[in-house]
Point group: C2
Chain length 435, copies 2
């Protein structure tokens, strides 16, 4: 892989998400050689992908070149690589651009959409975990309306304007809210010859409340907000199939629709080669101890969404959130430095700073450790926190400018169909998270 | 095509570029039914495509949703359509979404890259006439450097860092300048383990000066600017072939390179069905009279880059520039209104407001009808004119913000490889202008 040799030990990090970037930053000039690998040359700020998909933001403003993060770090290398396998016996990773020896391996590959083995749903529905997928989704949503104009009968037209979102987590809720705002403010003006009142947004949740990782108060508030925007919410309903036309469920409910957006679950992006004992099956997460060390290995670590650390306080692992990933990345960097100095390691303890979700204009829910609130103030808090969390001054400024503009003008201008694939081809590209 | 019937006559406009948008705007609520067709749902500000390709701007900020332009226009319809044929006898156009009858047809399809029949060059080189092509080019440029890191021998590495631009018009000159600035300010920081000094930018021009539609003074100045940025300029050289590895020319010169960017010519995007007499062959432009009426037809017009109007002052037609397209669009709208009132039509006369090109930071050339100047002031004029010409307040603001940031920070942050296709597939998608 053309990485020069070094007197220092080599740390290889796979993945430039929140976890990978946070450990990389902390390992700057720390007497380790660090190699960061990712399939993309940019870091994605995933919490705002839904705004790219719904025309509120440009993709470039929520992404950041990884090479720019590590500019001027000594003994630090980035390579655009797809890691195919881990050969733990020989301390090697195998990738599409060659092999690489590691002294310490950090797996921070994150997650992809989980269809729980249902190939039919995987083939016919869309997901939104990467920037290309969000752009595809944006094109797909808009192409539905372009097609609806051409539809010969009312039923076909209504199917094209019926959106079914499966999964009532933050992604599903935020997408549903954004679609509802498009329905209200933008689509009637863009498509005066369509009856946009016929557009339906259906949110299906398998559990008994949406946003079920937040407080009940927040769940109720978000439900109220969504309903006020005209979103139909179905709880305790499990989607069992979707053939591209009809969504079937475990009950009597069914939906005729051209668009299913699947946000009902995630699974780790595993790399083959690890022992079976180290893998939590079905969700493909990697079992780690309190130091994020992978079960059964001495020099392999996993951090962020792909890691599952079962603790007393979190018997089913920590929530799969940016905060956990960042904190694990920071701590592991500190522990690796301690390791070099033969100092005792510090176990991970999650500092829960709270969570939040936005539903729309002036509508958000915020759970802080001690306070729970919603509405206009929550919405400003949500915007502020997301704005300062973006990497780079220019991204912050451009996103801020877009938000101010969108707020004042009730508009979302980034509604270009920029990846105008044939619907079928597009659907296929959606089902792989490899894009 | 599901367009309602109307008591007014129907004008069908094909193409939403400068010409198509300018006539559309002028035809607002003018007792005509207007149908605007385009393969994209957005208008592209082509003069800034090179900044998208070189990471200076995001694609969304130089594009604008066509539906937003015509929002609230009465009796005005946009359809996303690819027009395949004109059936002039029946006053019909045939498209991928069905047929449509017209009373007046306006062809404003613009141009695509002209390879002058050289299929080998078409297959192996890149062009930059659309937003997707610019994004592909951006990815391709950056992928060259990622690959150079992996190259085993020096020759391969240098080929990957050798850029050959064919064509010394504004596009070639502006791209060469932008690449040179990337070489200076960004690439050495992004790729500290590559010797960026080895990067070459070669600009090949078949004529005896670059920017040969501008004044000699501007040609000389731009040449000086490019040379000061390290660009090698070859004049009176004609590229005869490129097999993906070696560029051959009509002289002794040859170049080993992985990247040829072809900006050496354009040809009209013709739609089949017009009489042969109406077509100017080789460059595929449509012959029009002084009212932009297509030769041999009474109700078909062509405007903008695809039209060729041979006049006393412009015996070989007007320059293919935004200004001509806009002025022809505006005049034709007025003439169509006159036609309805049975008033005499006004012939087209081009009001030459001048032309300009930018080479880099503080470096531009401006030809006004009476004044020619270059340097810092020209550069500010260039920026100002392009900024005010962008459609939409938000685009103006975002582009301005990006330029200020890039200027202060010597940076171009939009360097994401967002369409990471396999090189081969990418090259192929490049050669079709249909993307």
């Amino acid at each position: 892989m053309n990485i020069p040799s070094s007197p220092y030990k080599r740390i290889v990090i796979i993945g430039g998400g929140f976890a990978g970037i946070s450990i990389a930053k902390k390992l700057r000039n720390k007497k380790y050689q660090v190699v960061l690998l990712d399939k993309h040359n940019y870091h994605t700020f995933q919490p705002l992908l839904y705004q790219v998909a719904t025309g509120g933001l440009e993709p470039d403003s929520i992404a950041y070149p990884i090479r720019k993060v590590i500019q001027e770090y000594d003994n630090f290398y980035f390579r655009l690589a797809d890691v195919k396998e881990i050969d733990a016996k020989q301390n090697l990773i195998l990738s599409d651009i060659g092999d690489l020896h590691y002294d310490y391996l950090i797996i921070a590959t994150g997650t992809k959409t989980n269809y729980f083995g249902n190939k039919e749903i995987e083939r016919n529905s869309m997901s939104m975990k990467t920037i290309p997928q969000s752009l595809n989704l944006r094109s797909y949503i808009l192409e539905n309306f372009e097609q609806a104009l051409l539809a010969d009968d009312e039923i076909e037209r209504e199917n094209l304007m019926n959106f079914v979102l499966v999964g009532g987590g933050p992604t599903g809720v935020e997408l549903a809210g954004a679609l509802a705002e498009m329905k209200k403010a933008i689509l009637p003006k863009d498509y005066p010859d369509l009856n946009i009142d016929k557009m339906q947004i259906n949110l299906i949740q398998s559990g008994d409340r949406i946003l079920n990782t937040m407080t009940e108060k927040s769940s109720e508030a978000s439900e109220k907000f969504l309903k006020s925007l005209g979103v139909s919410i179905y709880k305790n309903v499990r989607v069992t199939g979707y053939d591209g036309h009809v969504v079937t469920t475990n009950g009597n409910l069914s939906f005729n629709t051209s668009t299913v957006i699947w946000t009902a679950g995630v699974q780790g992006k595993l790399i083959s080669g690890l022992n079976k004992d180290a893998i939590f099956e079905r969700i493909d997460r990697i079992k780690v101890d309190e130091f994020n060390k992978v079960k059964g290995y001495e020099n392999i670590f996993a951090i962020g969404d792909i890691a599952i650390m079962e603790t007393e306080k979190y018997p089913q692992g920590h929530p799969q959130m940016a905060q956990v990933a960042i904190q694990q990345g920071v701590l592991l960097a500190e522990n690796l430095i301690k390791l070099r100095k033969n100092e005792p390691l510090k176990p991970f303890e999650y500092n829960d700073k709270g969570s939040m979700a936005t539903i729309g204009r002036n509508k958000a829910v915020v759970d802080l450790p001690k306070y729970h609130f919603n509405g206009v103030f929550a919405w400003f808090v949500w915007m502020f926190v997301h704005l300062i969390s973006l990497i780079g001054f220019k991204n912050k400024a451009v996103v801020f400018l877009n938000w101010v503009y969108n707020y004042i003008r009730f508009d979302r201008e980034a509604r270009l169909i920029i990846r105008p694939y044939k619907r079928k081809a597009m659907q296929q590209s959606f089902t792989t998270d490899e894009i």
